[in-house]
């Protein structure tokens, strides 16, 4: 049986997939290259009376080459987070997410509860700080800032540092 000849190509579009290299099995089943986990936990109130303040433990686990340490553990207080946020807003083009509230009203006297040392408030703040760090640390532009690495992995935050960008070898 004979069919009509002519331009066969136009009638039905060729929708076959484009060729791709088969994936390396180590890449497919190995650990992903984007592992980054940050936990904010273990709030501890230190000091006495008016000079009391709360610190939080920040634990980081990663396989991103931009972080010097693949595991780190530091303690920071709320004002350190405020400092970090200020540095990033000034030096990077990142739209920095907000921190959990400062809650100044909790520092007024004659409150019925423990003010800023209240358990439920600390827990709320801890969760907000964790969310903040995860959002920020995953941002490619924030990862280039020295202040972020100092905040996450150095023993202490040196506010007299010279702001700079990290450059990969």
């Amino acid at each position: 049986r004979s069919e009509a000849g002519g331009e066969m190509a136009d009638t039905i579009a060729d929708t076959r997939r484009l060729f791709s290299k088969p994936q390396n099995l180590n890449d497919a089943y190995g650990p992903p290259s984007n592992f980054l986990e940050i936990d904010v936990s273990n709030p501890e109130t230190v000091g006495v009376g008016r000079t009391r303040f709360t610190t939080y433990e920040i634990r980081l686990k990663t396989n991103l080459p931009i972080f010097k340490l693949k595991e780190s553990r530091v303690r920071r207080r709320y004002s350190d987070f405020e400092w970090l946020r200020g540095e990033l807003e000034r030096d990077s083009k990142v739209v920095v997410p907000p921190l959990p509230g400062k809650a100044l009203f909790r520092q007024l006297p004659f409150r019925g509860d423990d003010g800023i040392f209240d358990d439920s408030f600390i827990e709320e703040r801890r969760a907000g700080l964790e969310q903040f760090l995860n959002k920020v640390a995953g941002h490619p532009l924030a990862q280039n800032e020295r202040c972020l690495h100092m905040f996450l992995q150095d023993e202490s935050v040196d506010k007299t540092y010279t702001p700079s960008k990290i450059r990969q070898a």
Binding site: E3, A4, G6, M8, D10, T11, I12, A13, D14, T15, R16, R17, L18, S20, K21, Q23, N24, D27, A28, P32, S33, N34, L36, L64, P65, I66, N134, K135, G138, H139, P140, Q143, Q168
Partner: protein, 334 residues
């Protein structure tokens, strides 16, 4: 419209000669409604009849002349007063005089040039219409009939694929590929996204079709972007070496051919926007222009011939083809 019972008025009706056989095309009006109009192409002759029906039979209709025009014009919404006519043809149907009874006039515009496609956009409109006018001392009587023009193209001789490597240094590297750079309106975009480096937590990936209408020139250029399609191509986190296929059928979307600098007044261009979204809702995108063109309808070949082509396209490997041939051979044996 005259509400006075004395004096004479008339109704005009324009009819194309091939109204029975000519196809109609759907076209959106400025307020978004869709209507059907006769479809014409560049170079076609426009011929028909103008029927003038007197409202008060027996009374005469005095006039300064009857004519019919074929007009192609561009209207910029921010400058409504100025119509830019790029096609303007006129045929006189009757010299000044009077009509004593309803009459029909024949007209023919031979091989009319219709260089651009009809277009109703966000800030500009290009339309073609016939307008019959009975000139009178005080007020003219006129009737317009809009028609739609499509511009057809043939298969481009050169239609290279688009292949590019893009990314953010040390964070995300991808190679994207689209099988063509020029697609017709019922075509399929076949492509792939290959991940070379993934240090971000990607949550999903989509491809958008963006239409950009540009009006005005020099310092008054105005771009109007409209996302006419959003098509998710990946849900989940990819890793290095993974290849995500793209198959996007264009026939389902309302699009026009790419229009470049129409009569130096406006352009309509289309872009594919590849968007990756990470866990924190950050968006990473790469825009790439594609050319859209309109293919003419072709006569359908026999169904079994089409089925044969379809099955060839579907079977990728030779072993599958062998199995198919064996199955066919077995059938014939029985």
């Amino acid at each position: 419209m005259s509400f006075f019972s004395f004096g004479q008025s008339a109704e005009i009706d324009i009819v194309l000669n091939d109204a029975e056989t000519r196809k109609k095309a759907e076209h959106k009006t400025e307020d978004g409604k869709k209507d059907k109009y006769f479809l014409l192409y560049d170079g076609e002759t426009v011929s028909g009849k103008v029927n003038v029906t007197l409202k008060n039979p027996g009374k005469r209709l005095e006039h300064q002349g009857i004519k019919i025009e074929f007009i192609g014009q561009i209207e910029l919404y921010y400058d409504r007063g100025n119509h830019h006519e790029f096609v303007s043809l006129v045929k006189d149907l009757a010299r000044p005089g009077e009509l004593t009874q309803s009459q029909t006039f024949d007209f023919e515009f031979i091989h009319v040039e219709k260089p651009y496609e009809s277009y109703t956009g966000q800030n500009v409109k290009l339309r073609y219409f016939l307008r019959a006018t009975i000139s009178r001392r005080l007020n003219d009587i006129s009737k317009e009939m809009d028609i739609v023009v499509h511009t057809l193209s043939t298969y481009p001789e050169l239609n290279s694929s688009i292949k590019m490597e893009v990314g953010i240094e040390d964070c995300l590297h991808i190679e994207f590929e689209y099988n063509k750079s020029k697609y017709h309106l019922k075509d399929v975009i076949v492509g792939k996204i290959y991940f070379l480096l993934v240090r971000l937590k990607i949550r999903h990936m989509e491809i958008d079709i963006v239409k950009r209408e540009t009006t005005g020139t020099g310092p008054n250029v105005y771009h109007e972007n409209d996302t006419i399609a959003k098509y998710e191509i990946m849900d989940g986190a990819p890793v290095r070496g993974e290849s995500i296929p793209i198959r996007l059928f264009l026939a389902g979307y309302e699009m026009t051919p790419t229009m470049k600098d129409i009569n130096k007044k406006y352009s309509v261009r289309y872009y594919l926007n590849l968007v990756l979204i990470d866990e924190e809702e950050r968006r990473y995108f790469k825009q790439q222009e594609i050319t859209l063109w309109r293919k003419g309808d072709i006569v359908r070949k026999s169904m079994s011939h089409q089925a044969a082509i379809a099955s060839q396209r579907f079977e990728g490997s030779s072993s599958a083809e062998k199995a198919l041939a064996q199955a066919q051979a077995k059938e014939q044996e029985q």
